[in-house]
Symmetry: C2
Subunit: 116 residues, 2 copies
Amino acid sequence: MRIQQLSACTGATIDTLRFYEKKGLITASHFRRGENGYRSYNDTAIERVEMIRRAQSAGFSLAEIAELFDLWDSERLSDDLIVAHLREKQQQIARKIAELEQIQQYLADKIQRLRG
Amino acid sequence: MRIQQLSACTGATIDTLRFYEKKGLITASHFRRGENGYRSYNDTAIERVEMIRRAQSAGFSLAEIAELFDLWDSERLSDDLIVAHLREKQQQIARKIAELEQIQQYLADKIQRLRG
DNA sequence: ATAAACCCTGGAGTATACTCCAGAGTCAAG
DNA sequence: CTTGACTCTGGAGTATACTCCAGGGTTTAT
């Protein structure tokens, strides 16, 4: 799959995809280079981009997402260490969910009052 | 309450508070001006700032938050219209929660695999 | 009354996350 | 073999959300 196709099926622009690569969010494991120098993406790239968009929409910065992916893809860290870090991220996400639920509650209250 | 105290009890810097004001997130209803021109905040300002931080951490831009607050504080819109808009926001939040839960699931799966 | 600590405005500077070229090479169709 | 659609890199430009002055006035404590 070439860059335009990945762009089409993820909704991210071509420039954005190259930007993510520069930031280390898309790596060698997600594409290879043809003899002409063109990027040729495999299917894991789609999943990656979708994950980036999800995490971003949920309030994570690209730096935080990169951190998560490094952990995710890590070969050199001990499993226990990775698990510990992943648990930390889970807690971070749990906090974000709690924040959203609190806003949700405010909205529900407001709606209640308006509807009498 | 003066600006330093609001800063202290919300964690937002003084510059940030003035910035929020410039963006219309903190309004005349949250403070008055003393004779010296100093801002004097009431307690609703604390709630406001905390709400901004929560929403922001959950992935909303200041523009989106301002939109929500406009709705919230609106006197001139019909109640039905406000309710409709608030419901829209609720759905937006529900989507964000779903995204976070999906990431949460990925993390759980990864942890499962690592723990054998 | 003067120093230290606070407040004000306006504007410049920074980090993040894109977005948009310029200038160049590649490839498929006619 | 040229035209049009695609690709590349590097760098400049933009929007958002701060962050940090400069240059001024105010308040509080000594």
